[in-house]
Amino acid sequence: MFPEILLAVFVGCLLGVVTGLVPGVHINLVAAILLSASPFLLQFINPITLAALIVAMSIAHTFLDFIPSVYLGIANEDTAMGALPGHKMLLSGMAHEAVKLTVIGGILGLATIILAMPAALFIVPGIYSGVEPMIGWILLFFILFLILNEADSNSKFWSFFIFMLSGVFGIFALGIPNVPNALFPMLAGLFGVSLLINGLNSRIILPEQDSEKEVRLPKKLVLKSSFAGALAASMVSIFPGLGPAQAAALVEKFFRRMGDYGYLIVIGCINTVSMVFALITTYTIGKARNGSIVAVDEITGIGINELALFVAVSVIAACFAAFLTLKISRIFCRAISRVNYRLLCVCVICFVIILTVVFSGFIGLLILSVATSIGMLSVLLKTPKSYSMGCLLLPVILWFLM
C-alpha cells in the first residue's frame, strides 16, 4: 500500500505540473475527469490511492500555477492577486525570485496549518454553525469594509464602481446557459489579458531575468506573512464564494506594510493552505470548498484516518512540488529572456483567445472581451484587483440575501 501511495503522489505531482503550467486546465477539470473515470480506474487501484493522487495533484498545482501567472501574466482565480506584484518583479528581472517567494509561502503555510490543525478541528464546526445564518451579511460587510477603507473618496468611488460592474458582469456571464467553463474567459480577461494589453500599450521592455538575484527579507516579515496568509485562508475557507483572492484582500487591509515581497509569500501561503483547509472543512462540516476535494470525498469519504493520510500526502507532494517549481522556474527564466516580450504578450493573448473559443465557444469570446475591458478599467483607474472578484462575490452575496 505504501509504495502504491508514493507512486500516486509522484504521478499526482506530475499531473499538477500540467494543470499548473497549462492555462485553462484546472485541477477541478482533471479531478472531475478522474472521478468520472473512477469506476474504470478502481479496477486497478484502490480508492485511497486514487484519492491520494488527486490530493497530490491539487497541492502541486498550488505551487506550479504561479509560473504562468508571473512569467506570462496568465492568472486564474487563485493567483489573480499575485499577478501584479509578480509582474512587477518580472519587470525588475526577478521573476524567479517572485516564484521562489510563493514557494516559501506555500511551504510555511502548510507547516502553519498542520500545527494549527488540532485546534482547527475543534473550532471550525463552532464557527461555521455560528456564522452560517449570516453568511450573506458577513460577505457584504466584508466588501463594504474594504471599500470604505480605501485611501480617499475617489478611490472609494471607483473601487465600488469596479466591484459593482464586475459583479453585474459576473451575474450575466455566469447566467448564460450552456457556456461551458465561463470562468476561464472571465478570469483570464479580468486578471490576465488586461494586464498584458496594458503592458503592450506601455511598451514594456522585459529586462534580463536573473535567477540568482535574491531578496533578503527579515525573518519576522516572512513569518508574519505566512501566519497572516494561513489565518486569512482558513477564515475564508469556511465561507462559500470566498477564495484565495478575498483572503489576499483581507491580508492587504489588516496586515499593511508587508510590501510586494511579503505579499507574494502571503499569496503562495494562501493557495496551499486553502487546499489543505478544504480537507478540514470536509471532515468537520461536510463542506468541500473546491472541486478536487469534492472528488476525493466522493471516492473515499474523509474520516479521521483519511484526513491524516491526506495531510501526509500533502507534505510529501509539497516538498516534491517545491523542488519542481524552482527547477521549472529557472527554465522559464532562461527562456523568457530570449524572447521578444511584446511578441510573447501577443502570442499569450492569442493563445487565451483560442482556448476560450475551444472551451467556451463564441459567447466565451464576448465574456473575454468584456472581462478584459473591465480589467483594463481597474488597472487604469488604479483600483485594487481584489474588487474585480466582484464577478464571483456579488452573485454569492445576492444568492444568500435573496
Binding site: F172, A173, P177, L366, V370, S373
Partner: protein
C-alpha cells in the same frame, strides 16, 4: 495610445459589453429535452424539462423532487420557501445535469409550477 483614450475605450466597451451580455442571457434559454433523452453526455449542460411531480423529499437545506415523464429524474433544489410543491403538480425545471454517485440528476436554477 494615450492612457485617457484607453480609459474611455475600456469604459465604453465595459458598459456596452455588460448590456450585450444581459441581452444574450435573457434571450438564450436552455434547450428543452425529454427526461428519457438525458444521458451522461449531458452532464454539465443546462436543460429544461417538463414533468409531473412523483415525489417530494425534504431535507435540511434542499428538497429532492422526483419528476416523471416517461422516466423519472431527481431534481435537487435549494429551499427558499417560495414554492409549495405537491405530488401530481406539473412543473417546469431549468437547471444543470449532474452525475451524483452514478445517477443523473438536475440541480435546479429555476422552477415553475404550471398546474
Amino acid at each position: 495610445m494615450e492612457e485617457k483614450t484607453l480609459l474611455k475605450i475600456a469604459f465604453i466597451f465595459s458598459i456596452v459589453g455588460v448590456v450585450a451580455l444581459f441581452l444574450v442571457s435573457e434571450n438564450i434559454a436552455p434547450q428543452e429535452i425529454k427526461i428519457s433523452e438525458i444521458s451522461c453526455a449531458d452532464s454539465g449542460k443546462d436543460v429544461k424539462i417538463h414533468g409531473r411531480i412523483a415525489g417530494v423529499d425534504e431535507k435540511e437545506d434542499i428538497v429532492v423532487i422526483s419528476v416523471a415523464q416517461e422516466k423519472i429524474i431527481k431534481v435537487v433544489a435549494f429551499k427558499d420557501g417560495k414554492l409549495n410543491l405537491q405530488k401530481g403538480q406539473v412543473i417546469e425545471v431549468e437547471g444543470e445535469v449532474r452525475n451524483y454517485k452514478g445517477n443523473l440528476e438536475i440541480v435546479a436554477d429555476k422552477m415553475k409550477v404550471e398546474r
